[in-house]
Symmetry: C2
């Protein structure tokens, strides 16, 4: 495409090698010592693929990538599962628990079906860092035994296979969070969230991929190949909960647990083809997770669920909070039970629509997505308000400064430990904000003051205009090509605001015939280099079948309302069904 | 007293002039320009004392101080109010609202009684920075008009006179927060909390004293004389909500609003002779308050009520939160309604007692207080556990570092603005932690990690031992002499833990005959210079009638449970009645 570049504004463009010299990171000699450990780690993953779950590709995987294979379509067309396995893995978690409770299925039966489907997902998408089907199977058997002996389920997630982002500490297993230097880190106990889910009856067998530093909305690390979108394996599954997006969208786990500090649950959900909730901070426990962010509270990360039904998000949040009592294990967990909020009626809702955040213009499929959804909501009786969101540039600049305001001290320490090669997008994110410059405490506090002013500005806006929710793109594009996602502005806005935000599927997929740049687009004058870079990456023919996902945000601590509205919108108005 | 000093440990002793050189603070030349403004400010206060509310002292105030006058006793003995004024001002807020609603009293009548009593309080204790009785009276009249016209009250605090700590922003009035340099700061609107209380029907007429920097558990600033304990005007009212402690304990307002980052609600409540709640962070809004702490989130301050009945604390918290909806005005306010928690039964409670925090040994009256209360609780059926609280030194050192980890940059800026003389206790607190050394962002984050580990250690302890509440001294002594409070460890522990904590009156007062150091005490080997300094300051004959207050703490976000248990303990078990 041809376009004019404005040279006025490149402040959002984290150009490589400007604010970071990357001195003190890479060390090829040191890294050599880690190579055998990485090989061993990879071998363990390879061995985790049970023979009976191996897929025979019709041609080399590179060619399937070249063809933009829809792996989900392939799964059904080539009947890679038995009808029973399809029935089980295409059931929502709520139904799985009910069916186990009723004796229709055993936990073992359910487990095997998901382990099979998830292992297939991995072979197409590289979604796993670790597979431990044997362990999971033993646990499922124990649950069946428990049920037989006690005549009841062990908890509200009895027998539900849940996938876990690798950075969540796992007892007795390497937990590296994308850093080679942490390959010897083996936690003595589960992270709080892992333990709570286990106590409620969940079964684990897969820990999923994430990028180096956890700070790409993509995958890419020194442990594994990049993770792919299951609906088009030439595209990225997103990140940083890269493997969660892929495995959940493919149907390899009933619920996935990701984490989100700038879009890391929502990007993989939106790109990969499932739903994902970024809850308000401190509702799910982060304790026992590994990252560079310990003690950083300007923009805390959150854990959040990825699923194929909105009801499963609700079920997970409710049981985790109300039955799991995270406040008994983590003093940071809000003592705030999950409230039963009825599904609202369309006519009672006011939704503000952001079509463009003023920073990076959405690509044609995203525009079609938002137009279609806004139109359907309006037809259903929702009051739609157009919203030109205030101060998005300030918000994005501020959060980028927050990420790196320690002068990348912690990232440098973690990366330098092994001297591992830096991924391209690692260099991109290390250049955020002021890169290697260490802020003073007062400078950091001033960022917090700006953040709070933004939060109050948006809160006031919602209160004064009686806006219930905000509908927006989850990214300015559908799933990007692997390694090519530069702009976080659409997701990160809701991290700095701390608005609970649901990334949801519209049911629409990219269509190379329809979703093209118009003539008007071609004479568009870019507002920044970042916008030019992002828009230039969208070439309609390269994004076949990419899912079109959007975001729904509500006021702080209104997670319940967001999810309830999500059910209305996704289930009733858009009639999306991700369970084939 | 004679005692042996251990030289092993003076790490808690913020000795003057060691970590801070105080360069760049004081500037006598610059300060000269502010003197006329201070004089004008003082004059306005003087003029705020209505002629009809003036007290004729029987002898010069210095002599009354010398005699350790009990001003509350004097108020009753010399009948400084009419019987009706006594009746009104000795009623709880709940009853005041009911009586106005029933037409027994008017808002004007109630207001005049409190304004009278509060103005007397000021003359004995120096509790006011500003008095504006005329304005309050007009507001009360408007409330009466509203009631007449609408046949109902304007809100659940209709006609309740509420005193406000000066640092809470007040529309159109100087808000200096104890800094001379801010004497020209006149907010364009009320702080959120002030506005919410006003909307609910509260009437204001007094803004109360606080120390320079807000960081003394005492008073002392360049605007006014030190504030005194109403039960012994030779002693300090505490701080930093110095005036709130004095005016509420004296009965000059039905409810007072203070703020607390290390004990600043609880110290003045305990020392002055009333109750005070330090709620969990983010339940009451801080927005629009002035301090050096903008953007500081390692140990956020909180607002909290001071009252003479525990039920009034409950009523204020409940109406403020459930009727005031702070989340509509401040995005930091937790969307956490005040829960109705029934008063517990003694036999169902387990209370852990801290008799000594391992840092500074309590003085004899405090020991008597805690022994008496623990004994009465046990007799009432409460299960009492002795608690040697873990890691109190680490907790205290960490919070002290948090206060000053910006190298005092903000304090220096605010103080240097006027070049005002530094108070002695200002120098003390500027030496906390590492004084003038600016921490790096990572160093600050490491403090947060220590804090979170402490929170989890105490949370685990409460969960594992099934401890409902912790009973502890609010300070190692009763009200100190003005300017002589050095140790915050008993209160600050619950700031770093973020445990909701109620400072309450035991009904006991210091008795110079009983509360003496024993022979055993006299051969005690001090654990630190801080302990020696604090203990040396207790001379039985100097603390006549000083109220004996203690603290009750619960787990984070269990404010409701703490207050409900407070009602059981204070009203039913100890049978304390501060409304004569």
């Amino acid at each position: 495409m041809t376009a004019h570049v404005s040279k006025d504004d490149d402040s959002l463009f984290a150009s490589f090698l400007t604010k970071e010299t990357f001195e003190g990171y890479e060390d090829p000699e040191k890294f050599k010592q880690y190579i055998p450990k990485i090989e061993q780690y990879k071998k363990a993953l390879e061995e985790g693929i049970l023979d009976e779950y191996k897929v025979e590709f019709p041609k080399p995987i590179e060619e399937l990538v070249e063809e933009q294979l829809d792996a989900v379509d392939y799964l059904y067309k080539h009947k890679l599962l038995t009808p029973e396995e399809f029935e089980i893995t295409d059931s929502p978690a709520t139904e799985i628990v009910r069916n186990i409770g009723d004796g229709k299925w055993t936990a073992v039966q359910v487990f095997k079906a998901f382990a099979h489907r998830g292992t297939i997902a991995h072979q197409f998408t590289n979604c796993a860092h670790q597979l431990f089907v044997d362990e999971g199977l033993k646990h499922a058997q124990k649950l069946d035994d428990y049920q037989k002996q006690n005549g009841k389920l062990i908890g509200p997630l009895h027998g539900v296979p849940i996938s876990l982002k690798e950075q969540s500490g796992y007892k007795g297993k390497i937990t590296h969070a994308g850093y080679v230097g942490l390959i010897d880190n083996i936690p003595a106990k589960h992270a709080v969230t892992t333990q709570i889910l286990s106590d409620l009856g969940a079964v684990f067998y897969i820990r999923t991929t994430q990028p180096q530093t956890l700070m790409h909305l993509c995958s890419g690390n020194n442990f594994s190949e990049k993770t792919k979108c299951p609906f088009n394996i030439a595209l990225s599954s997103g990140g940083s909960s890269s493997g969660e997006g892929a495995v959940v969208a493919f149907g390899g786990s009933a619920i996935g647990i990701g984490s989100d500090i700038g879009g890391s649950v929502r990007a993989p959900a939106a790109y990969s083809g499932c739903h994902g909730l970024r809850p308000t901070t401190r509702r799910l426990s982060l304790l026992g997770g590994v990252s560079s962010g310990a003690g950083q509270e300007s923009v805390p990360a959150v854990y959040g669920p990825l699923t194929r039904t909105i009801s499963d998000i609700e079920y997970m949040m409710k049981t985790y909070i109300n039955n799991g009592h995270p406040w008994d294990y983590d003093a940071w967990s809000l003592y705030m039970p999950w409230r039963d909020v009825p599904k609202p009626q369309a006519k009672d809702l006011t939704i503000a629509v952001i079509r463009d955040d003023g920073l990076v213009r959405p690509s044609p499929p995203i525009r079609r997505g938002i137009d279609t959804v806004a139109k359907k909501l309006k037809e259903a009786g929702v009051k739609i308000i157009e919203l030109d969101p205030p101060n998005t540039k300030l918000a994005y600049e501020t959060i980028n400064k927050m990420y790196n305001c320690d002068g990348n001290e912690k990232q440098r320490e973690l990366l330098a430990k092994s001297g591992e090669p830096l991924q391209r997008l690692t260099k991109w994110n290390l250049n955020y904000g002021d890169g290697a410059r260490n802020y003073t405490i007062q400078e950091n506090r001033k960022l917090n003051v700006i953040r709070d002013a933004l939060r109050n500005e948006y809160n006031d806006l919602m209160v004064e205009k009686k806006i219930d929710f905000i509908l927006s793109p989850a990214y300015n594009n559908v799933a990007p090509r692997p390694g090519e996602v530069y702009n976080w502005s659409y997701t990160a806005l809701f991290n700095i605001l701390d608005f609970p935000t649901l990334a949801f599927q519209t049911g629409l997929k990219q269509d190379p015939e329809i979703d093209v740049w118009t003539d008007e687009d071609k004479s568009y004058k870019f507002r920044s280099k970042l916008e030019e870079l992002e828009n230039s990456n969208y070439k309609p023919e390269e994004f076949k079948h990419a899912p079109i996902g959007l975001q729904l945000s509500g006021r702080r601590y209104r997670d319940e309302e967001v999810v309830a509205a999500g059910k209305l919108i996704v289930d009733d108005i858009l009639k999306v069904n991700l369970l084939n």
